[in-house]
Symmetry: C2
Subunit: 295 residues, 2 copies
């Protein structure tokens, strides 16, 4: 697969923005190149990555000359003059990509801000030192082959997917330039309160359970819990609790010979009578008839 994609071109000439919580990843340009294309000295207020695919190229940045073999990477800081040494006689295939990471002005979550700062700090090293050079990076050729395949296959979603894949390419290489572990402790986004509440119900269905108790446990209003339940499970909190209790009651009816009073107690209901009423409402039969089907 690699051999095939190496003979093909990747050419991304669309300025593509992938928005994240606290920053945008902007891809200005990506192209698979070869030794026959001259790249003259230039600079820009953007980051650029050169990544060797095969053969030998040579990135010149200021006074420094950086050989680019298979899986070598040069990440150039902003506003540093650079060029490729023109060696048309030496076979070389490499990949180049121009991008930027732009902070958002709106208010983001603290974790999203933190993630932005961690990425920006890793990139800063390239600005300060003109470039970051990894002679032997962990191979990204499978990812480049995947990008090429997406472009070829043009399956639904491909057009935004390749933007994502370019971002992963940058991220994979950037991580190799730092040993920093992220301080972001959780995935980004809002905690799914309905789900947390649901787990709480499953753990406590044998006890008394009111929406106020759950809301207090999760530091939100009871009204909010109800709204989230409707969205996530298509029914109210009270109904959800009731359904969960009946499901557990059915399990006891099927697998034990316990009395209805005892089962009611197991599932957090005040009496066998209440169990019978709820069972009728939800299952359209008595607990006894249900049990009879399994015994």
């Amino acid at each position: 697969m690699l051999a095939e994609y190496r003979n093909q071109q990747i050419y991304h000439n669309h300025i593509t923005t992938i928005p994240f919580g606290a920053f945008d990843f902007v891809l200005y340009y990506a192209e698979q190149m070869s030794q026959i294309i001259p790249v003259f000295e230039h600079q820009h207020d953007l980051y650029e990555i050169f990544y060797g695919i095969e053969g030998e190229a040579n990135v010149v940045c200021g006074q420094d000359s950086l050989p680019l073999y298979e899986n070598s990477m040069v990440l150039l800081g902003k506003n540093h003059l650079h060029r490729l040494r023109y060696m048309p006689e030496k076979p070389a295939v490499y990949f180049t990509m121009i991008f930027d990471i732009i902070p958002k002005s709106g208010n983001s979550s603290i974790d999203a801000e933190l993630e932005y700062r961690e990425i920006a700090k890793a990139l800063d090293k390239a600005d300060t030192n003109k470039y970051i050079y990894l002679p032997r990076a962990v191979s990204q050729q499978a990812l480049l082959a995947d990008i090429h395949k997406q472009i070829q296959d043009r399956k639904i979603g491909w057009a935004s997917q390749i933007g994502i894949l370019y971002y992963l390419f940058v991220l994979n290489l950037l991580r190799q330039t730092t040993s920093v572990v992220s301080d972001v402790k959780t995935p980004l986004g809002y905690k799914n309160i309905a789900l947390e509440a649901s787990k709480y119900i499953h753990s406590n269905y044998a006890d008394e359970l009111t929406i106020d108790m759950v809301a207090q446990q999760l530091n939100v209003t009871p009204r909010h819990v109800n709204r989230l339940f409707q969205e996530m499970f298509g029914r109210s909190f009270a109904h959800t609790v009731s359904v969960i209790r009946m499901e557990y009651a059915k399990k006891y009816l099927r697998t034990t010979n316990d009395s209805l009073e005892r089962i009611a107690m197991h599932v957090g209901l005040p009496s066998g009578k209440v169990l019978i009423r709820l069972f009728h409402e939800q299952e359209g039969m008595s607990p006894g008839d249900y049990r009879a089907k399994f015994h």
Copy 2:
């Protein structure tokens, strides 16, 4: 690596939004589950995927019972009652994920709209037919293992990266439910005019080249071309053309014995005199002195 991640939990309890051009991908919940956790009948106004990792589970949707083996997938449409058959004695590991695709109200590009409609149409099939069932999907276990690894390693960017990876998981499976090839012809985003203009200059440096000609060629204003050049290459259009001409002139000086008049003609300058003046300005020496260094 797979064996290792199969024993570990993936648990994503944060509502995470990944914005694209014309829609948001919203992940409500993702978890790796086993046969010992009961999943009672429920429904929601969201999509849900069940994906078999090992053993045998069973998704019940309405009257239908869908066995879930390794790499089986059930994609449930919105608002259809479903549950997992409770078989605690049968070993089963599976992955479940609740998500939605929400169109944006703002104005997006035509291609971004088209991409949204293609994805929405594929999902519609699940809504209409209650579910889409793939008994043997192409394995996504490597992707799940990658998600797990990202969570474990917590390298910079991990927190938003796993949201992306869940999106790719959905996309990979959704594509297997349709044979549709995307009508989106180009990657999403704006065409990089500076880059296109630069390619045009490289192809036409031997001829007269004015910013008006290039602007006309690309259907934009000359002012716009200049602004984009500053951004992309850190210098004006005129300077860029001049630099490119001198770079080609240097190549002729190094590799041929052509007269200055002839080289000027090769690189699109009106006379040897102009070449000498520009060469002095940019290289700080005469073309003759430069040539002498290489002969």
